[in-house]
């Protein structure tokens, strides 16, 4: 074990390797005294984990592999779609991450060899690691819905990764005539941001009510229950009667195919020809997870709930949306909490110490209108190898809360966004 450690430290710094060849060359001097941790994916999980590792131990060499020079945050992107926020408010750079002494590698990770502890990047670099942390987020399962694919998404946007897709859906809503039909299809569990489709539907309904009041929105759902359901439904009744309709699985809401040429969504019972169609398709862990051998048949990654180490590959940890985190939902708050927990565990493991069994929090706000927020919160701990909600904790906003509470929670949603993005990127 110790004999091998020297080898593992023979990693290549990004700047050195960029000028070098595709072969794994050695620059052990750079690594002196510090283990090398590679983090793949620079979102709420990955960027947070990289910084936390550095904060906990300056001697650890950290490389963050991320292809995008700017991060575009998903939380609040539904407000961009509904026209009351700009995408620029969602953009964050990695300048402060780099200023912490984290090496940035701006190339796609193409392969992981868990046995040899080496990853390959698309630009030919090879990096060796002591511990690898995968935070790749989600990929769309392009094969899961007949008729849907990358080309179809240009006509029927998913907008489930923030960026051009977000703006495309917004433009489609803006150019739609009054009296049009908007259809959102929501997938079966699990998927990124469980309350997200319903927040989106709410905010689009808010836009329609104000700007195109003869229009209608239908959610076709592959489920009969969803996150914060009672709160959403009672708010819809109050705010958007006659505008927003939810069709659950048991009423024929499951979309079985789509036709981008006619903007049609097909269920077992009906065909919905939409003016604007937002297809939120089934998802899986980001592609590198499968290539690294840490995704199971479900497409997601089983992990140890204390260390977030993969159950399938040693020395590889998975955090954020890609992980199967038991009762924890796939949320940015949860991803950030997991990142900090994982960083603490990895530091302990590198020192040969035993990681502490963590408690994690999730708090997710959803907007039903710009000044109407609702939340779900939970506290989680590891029980019998699973992240489980602590009994008696957590839950959703009270159903009988006054409008002042709803508006306070809308403000708290923004406070959370500012604080968390400052912690991760600021």
């Amino acid at each position: 074990m110790n004999g091998k450690r020297v080898n593992r430290r023979q990693f290549v710094s990004v700047s050195v390797a960029a000028a070098g060849s595709a072969a794994l060359c050695c620059a052990p001097a750079i690594a002196q005294g510090g283990a090398h941790v590679v983090v793949i994916g620079g979102g709420f999980a990955g960027a947070s984990c990289a910084r936390q590792l550095k904060r906990l131990d300056r001697k650890i060499q950290v490389t963050l592999v991320e292809t995008n020079p700017t991060f575009i945050a998903c939380p609040f992107s539904n407000a961009v779609i509904a026209g009351f926020r700009e995408l620029s408010a969602q953009r964050f750079t990695y300048e402060k991450v780099a200023a912490d002494g984290i090496a940035l590698a701006a190339a796609r990770a193409t392969a992981v060899e868990p046995g040899a502890r080496i990853i390959s990047l698309a630009d030919g670099q090879r990096l060796s690691y002591d511990r690898l942390i995968l935070a790749p987020g989600i990929d769309i399962r392009w094969d899961a819905l007949p008729g849907y694919g990358e080309a179809a998404a240009e006509q029927m946007p998913h907008a489930w990764k923030a960026g051009e897709q977000t703006l495309l859906l917004r433009r489609q809503l803006e150019t739609m005539e009054d009296g049009g039909l908007v259809v959102i299809s929501a997938p079966a569990n699990p998927f990124r941001c469980p309350p997200g489709p319903y927040e989106r539907a709410s905010l689009i309904a808010h836009y329609l009510k104000a700007r195109k009041p003869r229009s209608k929105l239908i959610i076709l759902d592959a489920k009969d229950v969803f996150s914060k359901q009672r709160l959403f439904q009672s708010a819809w009744k109050e705010l958007y009667p006659g505008i927003l309709e939810w069709v659950p699985l048991s009423s024929g809401g499951n979309v079985t195919s789509v036709d981008p040429n006619t903007n049609t969504l097909v269920t077992d019972f009906e065909k919905y020809r939409a003016n604007v169609a937002n297809v939120i398709p089934p998802q899986r862990a980001g592609g590198i997870a499968e290539r690294a051998g840490v995704a199971d048949v479900s497409g997601w990654c089983p992990i140890d709930p204390v260390t977030f180490e993969s159950r399938l590959q040693a020395n590889v940890h998975v955090i954020g949306d890609a992980a199967i985190a038991g009762a924890m939902p796939k949320s940015a708050f949860g991803a950030n909490a997991q990142a900090k927990t994982c960083a603490m565990a990895v530091v302990k493991l590198l020192r040969g110490e035993t990681p502490l069994s963590p408690k994690l929090i999730n708090t997710c706000y959803s907007l039903v209108a710009p000044d109407y927020g609702i939340s779900i919160a939970g506290v989680y701990h590891a029980v019998d190898g699973q992240l489980t909600e602590v009994p008696g904790s957590g839950g959703v906003s009270p159903s009988d809360a006054p409008r002042s509470t709803r508006s306070a929670e809308a403000n708290l949603a923004e406070d959370w966004f500012r604080t968390t993005t400052a912690e991760v990127f600021g």
Binding site: A408, W416, A422
Partner: protein
């Protein structure tokens, strides 16, 4: 430290969420107890406080007190 998702450790963030960094540990402990018992009303902290034992709350409070 999951708490810092809302309660910033640094000082540069504008938020209505109470700052805990540098606060006396005993104050934080007292507030968490009040949230847990329902003595102090809250939007989410009542739901979160119920997930922590006294010992855990003390550890968190001491950590925040030690932050600048």
């Amino acid at each position: 430290m999951a708490c810092s998702g809302c309660h910033p450790v640094g000082s540069g963030v504008e938020t209505s969420v109470p700052r805990l960094a540098g606060r006396k540990a005993e104050e934080i402990v007292a507030q968490m107890r009040a949230f847990r018992s329902g003595q102090r009303s809250a939007t989410v902290m009542d739901r979160i406080a119920k997930g922590y034992s006294d010992a855990e709350v003390e550890t968190i409070a001491e950590w925040y007190e030690a932050q600048r």
